[in-house]
């Protein structure tokens, strides 16, 4: 199954957040979308998932045009996601956060029970998923009570538990410390599968460079460059647009260091370390 954006644009009033973007993603790979803050990365994710309508253009999953469908239909077709800012069900337990993903998706399934997982099957899948994401010990803890790092992992687990073929991850490592980011990178790399496309929006360049099969660089809503990590790393336009001039580069480096010291957000400038 392939996901394709064909000439997609998104305007917010007079602001053009995405301009004529065409990209395609096939199962079996990890794709990263990078670019400075405000480049339009989250907008792309939101359009694919149906949270934002597209202003023009088409988004297709296989032969189906997604951009006319309501959000829950898109999810049913196999697109799942995480959010840039955590959006767990805080008042529900970790296990319940996963269980609810298996709510019967149509009246027919709900009423007849056809194709519907039994409670035992559902719990088995969820427990297996918790084990895979090292969350078994907190299965019955309220999601809101978990430490931030584990909340991020739970949101990841929720995106994968239904085996969706298209998984969108919007900054899964935002706010994580160095070790946690490394673990997160390893975890995501381990989730790569033949029948699944992972589309990652991320600022941490170590992570992006190490696990991506292809990197798409956005700048002011336009595709600047697209290719393997090696290609992107050496691309001059990327260096310029993404990192600015050499003086700016120094500033960014400093900023990055101070942010890292605070354990805050990953800086945009992670790329300079390569």
């Amino acid at each position: 199954m392939a996901l394709a954006l064909e000439n997609v644009s998104k305007h917010f009033g007079s602001l053009v957040a995405i301009r004529n973007l065409s990209l395609s993603f096939d199962v079996g790979s990890i794709y990263s979308i990078i670019g400075p803050n405000g480049a339009g990365k989250s907008t792309v994710v939101n359009m694919i998932a149906g949270s934002y309508s597209v202003t023009s253009g088409t988004i297709r999953l296989g032969a189906t045009a997604l951009n006319q469908l309501p959000k829950h239909r898109i999810a049913q077709l196999g697109v799942s996601r995480t959010y840039q800012n955590l959006r767990l069900f805080d008042g529900m337990t970790v296990l319940e956060n996963l269980e609810v993903c298996f709510f019967p998706q149509s009246w027919l399934t709900f009423l007849t029970g056809a194709k519907r997982l039994s409670k035992a099957e559902r719990l088995e899948i969820c427990h297996a998923c918790l084990a895979e994401f090292h969350l078994s010990d907190v299965a019955d803890v309220l999601a809101g009570d978990l430490p931030y790092g584990r909340q991020k992992i739970l949101e990841l687990a929720r995106a994968f538990v239904t085996q969706a073929p298209i998984v969108l991850l919007d900054e899964p490592a935002a706010g994580l410390n160095h070790t946690e980011t490394k673990d997160m990178a390893a975890m995501i790399a381990g989730l790569k599968r033949e029948d699944r496309a992972i589309i990652l929006v991320e600022h941490d360049m170590d992570m992006v460079m190490s696990i991506s099969d292809r990197i798409d660089v956005l700048n002011y809503g336009e595709l600047l460059c697209s290719g393997t990590p090696d290609l992107v790393r050496t691309n001059e336009r990327v260096q310029e647009a993404y990192l600015g001039t050499t003086e700016e580069l120094d500033d960014i480096r400093k900023l990055a260091q101070s942010r890292r010291a605070q354990g805050g957000l990953r800086a945009n400038a992670g790329i300079v370390r390569h």
Binding site: P70, K71, A75, R87, F89, M92, V100, F103, Q105, W107
Partner: protein, 331 residues
């Protein structure tokens, strides 16, 4: 295992036995008290039903009493001389529930896109529209005079006429409704409702049609309201629009808020308090609304979550009883 466990088990048995004895003694109370208990039970049924929408799905419905009216008028029209139709009570009970559910879906379709305050306002208006429509549909409902002389109900050959008869019926129904809602709360449907209450957009992102989910809550809760209305009609043997004013909707919402939103035990406590209080203070009958207001403000200031803590719910009680019985060493 030891004396303390045995003592606690005995204590538990004593509590259970006490409950059963108290419930069994109600019929021997003077008629007035039986009526109060009946009233409590009706409001428990209504509030547990409305709680599906308010407490679980997180949608404030201020027109709930409309469904109660639909049920009551279903009985009035189908078991009286009005059109000389005399269906059996049990049949009308189901018709009333179904009519309530249909009314719930009809209300739900247009309004479920609304959120928060807007939803509250529209549902409030809906409640009033139903009441006014009943008031004006003279040919069908006799308008403000209401319909009197409704059939005496009977169930499986047993007469349903005295408050004691209705006590048993309401008790059974209240247990069924509480049990059913508790089961739903624990099912995946209940989890989806809770998730919906927390973040509707994320729920949609999980592939769940949130409109369906809300409609289901509306329909189920309205069905319970409709069934309650049928019993009310059969009990009073008289219906008129007066019984279904906004005040009644408000009372049911207050029961939920004062008892504890989303908590069956809380709702039961709320119903007891709000039904008994005006009876105790009946000398101040004209201040009824004022009393509700004072109680509401007091509860909100002192116990914002309601009288009963969210942790003290039916699940907690059942777990407690179970562990004490099966593996007392853990407690």
């Amino acid at each position: 295992m030891g004396n303390s466990v045995i003592a606690r088990r005995l204590g538990l048995l004593a509590v259970l036995a006490l409950c059963v004895v108290l419930l069994a003694l109600v019929p021997y109370l003077p008629s007035y008290y039986v009526r109060v208990v009946d009233s409590i039970l009706i409001y428990i049924i209504l509030a547990v039903g409305l709680n599906l929408v308010v407490g679980y799905a997180g949608l404030l419905d201020l027109g709930f009493i409309a469904f109660y009216a639909v049920g009551a008028y279903a009985y009035a029209l189908l078991a009286s001389g009005q059109f000389d139709i005399h269906l059996p009570f049990i049949v009308i009970l189901f018709i009333g529930a179904a009519a309530g559910a249909i009314a719930g879906v009809l209300l739900g379709f247009p309004v479920l896109k609304l959120r928060g305050d807007y939803l509250a306002i529209v549902t409030l208006s809906f409640g009033e529209i139903i009441r006014i429509a009943i008031n004006n549909a003279d040919d069908l409902t006799n308008g403000p005079q209401g319909i009197a002389g409704l059939d005496r109900a009977s169930l499986f050959g047993l007469p349903l006429t005295t408050p004691v008869h209705f006590y048993w019926l309401l008790l059974v129904l209240a247990i069924i409704v509480c049990g059913g809602v508790y089961y739903m709360e624990r099912s995946i449907l209940g989890k989806a409702w809770r998730a919906l209450r927390e973040d509707q957009d994320v729920v949609r992102g999980l592939g769940i049609n949130t409109t369906t989910l809300k409609l289901l809550a509306f329909a189920l809760s309205a069905a319970i309201g409709g069934a309650g209305g049928v019993i009310f009609g059969a009990f009073q043997r008289f219906v008129s629009p007066e019984s279904f004013t906004f005040q009644e909707s408000l009372l049911v919402v207050l029961i939920i808020i004062i008892g504890g939103v989303g908590n069956i035990v809380g709702v039961i406590a709320g119903a007891v308090v709000l039904v008994v209080l005006p009876e105790v203070l009946h000398f101040a009958a004209q201040y009824r609304l004022l009393i509700y207001g004072v109680v509401l403000v007091t509860v909100i200031v002192l116990r914002p979550g309601g009288l009963v803590s969210p942790r003290f719910n039916l699940g907690f009680i059942i777990r407690k009883v179970r562990t004490l019985w099966l593996s007392p060493s853990k407690t």
